[in-house]
Symmetry: C2
């Protein structure tokens, strides 16, 4: 069956210059390096991941009138557990989100792929739809940097922004939509262990080889654009080189304004592409997202008739 993502939306914290982080846990040389690699602003949010999730999902649901039967919520932000630990706090907060959105959906929480959580969520959503193609599933990603957490993405790849993103996954397109062509995910447990990132560059190259083998076997002419996490232009250039594609087809336009909004980068980039008219009906794109020890790719066809 064909599966589509539609009603893509996002919300972020306030825009701040990355230079404002200077002395605030980030040294000047690091900021200078990130500036050189295309970063200018990051986003800072003073509420919870659940507050930000509502902001994104409200827009996704605004023009959507079908029944949402399931909700897939993804995050990597588990730093706000109250002391003494209250096991029910996550679902209690998510119930508040569900009530605010006015939906009745079974919630599945997804974690462990971090900045690629959205691709895991879409993969799982696509699978759940195979049981019953008539239902709609809401996907929401939300991440906020903890107060005691460094804004540097380990192992030094970017600056963390606070953002949420959302979409509907269903068996039908709805306005500006993307048909899912393929989802491929690769995990390398040797890349990160209890001593930290082991042989990171070598193992990262294996991830890049996976993407090259799975999506670029016949060159890159199939894709109008390749979307990546908004880490830096340096990362984008290095990825383009390693998977042997021209840097010109890598979408880097949002790096300066957003930096890295965790798993929500994909929603921001897809949303901007649609709003800016950067793609046309029938265009294929590839979105790549990497986690701390994984890489995921999703190929999509734009449908907007």
């Amino acid at each position: 069956m064909d599966t589509y993502i539609s009603n893509i939306s996002y919300a972020t914290g306030e825009q701040r210059e990355i230079v404002s982080l200077s002395g605030n846990g980030v040294d000047e040389r690091t900021i200078a390096m990130f500036s050189k690699f295309g970063l200018k602003y990051y986003r800072e949010f003073n509420g919870s991941i659940y507050d930000l999730a509502v902001k994104a999902a409200e827009q996704t649901l605004k023009e959507h009138h079908n029944q949402i039967e399931e909700m897939i919520f993804t995050t990597g932000s588990f730093h706000t557990q109250p002391e003494p630990y209250n096991r029910i706090s996550n679902i209690r907060e998510l119930n508040t989100v569900i009530n605010k959105l006015g939906i009745a959906a079974y919630p599945y929480g997804i974690f462990l792929s971090d900045c690629a959580n959205v691709i895991s969520a879409i993969h799982i959503g696509k699978s759940l739809l195979s049981e019953n193609p008539d239902k709609d599933i809401l996907i929401v990603s939300s991440d906020v940097t903890g107060k005691t957490e460094s804004r540097i993405v380990p192992p030094g790849s970017s600056i963390k922004s606070d953002g949420a993103g959302s979409c509907i996954i269903s068996g039908k397109p709805n306005g500006a939509s993307f048909m899912i062509l393929a989802v491929k995910q690769y995990h390398n447990s040797r890349m990160l262990n209890n001593s930290g990132f082991a042989n990171y560059s070598i193992e990262l190259m294996k991830s890049m080889d996976f993407i090259k083998d799975e999506f670029f076997n016949e060159g890159c002419d199939n894709y109008k654009l390749v979307l990546v996490n908004n880490y830096s232009t340096g990362f984008a250039r290095s990825l383009a080189k390693q998977i042997d594609i021209p840097i010109e087809i890598v979408y880097t336009e949002q790096i300066a304004g957003y930096a890295h909004c965790f798993a929500s980068d994909i929603f921001i980039n897809l949303s901007k592409l649609i709003a800016d008219g950067g793609i046309s009906d029938g265009d294929n794109i590839l979105a790549i997202a990497s986690g701390p020890s994984s890489i995921s790719g999703i190929s999509l066809k734009y449908v907007n008739k």
Copy 2:
């Protein structure tokens, strides 16, 4: 396609008498009530959820020689984040588990259904298999009570034990296995909100009605046994009454020895049933698990030829 769970295993912490909790954050009257309701021992583990996960999964994989392509890991225990918060700690710890188990699997983390997390995991695993029925998926649940966390299950239903459970979900039976007949999940976001458990008894009754409607429309003769979370015999009796089934078919044998091992209760109960010869080839059973604001049921046919 038919889907099976096999190689079911579990691991728990050390067995301790529930009376030893007296004065240790739990008052004597509560302990007396739980004793009256069939609880005698709970399990206490001094390591992490990941240590316990290895103990369970090692047994599941011992006699299993197929390729595990995906791993679904479920927990509700997010209290062990180090300060300052390190976003990569969950996947780093899970990579250690994956390396110890000697598998190469893409990991999906599942949360938000707490004590019903295993049914969410089986639901998602079953869906992922519909894409490719030839792969095997490892499911692991693990929960350990936090040091500053109360051992009382909110809102006062049982005593928390530390346990992990695991199984393989695949398109083929393997020894003592269960074919999945149906999975049904119901969530009620009004049951729990920021002021706590709202109208808990009334909303809980709606959950019970869901189970009754979905699984007992034609009476209970279809099921040899009904498995529930090992909360207490009081809970089991109340559930039996509300869904109008005889208490005799509710499996309560493990309540005294284990108390409530979160999502792993189902694995403990299925494992014990097989080991004790409590079921025969072709028997149907129903396993019910409830989360703080949800209920899930899975009907299974025992296959062991």
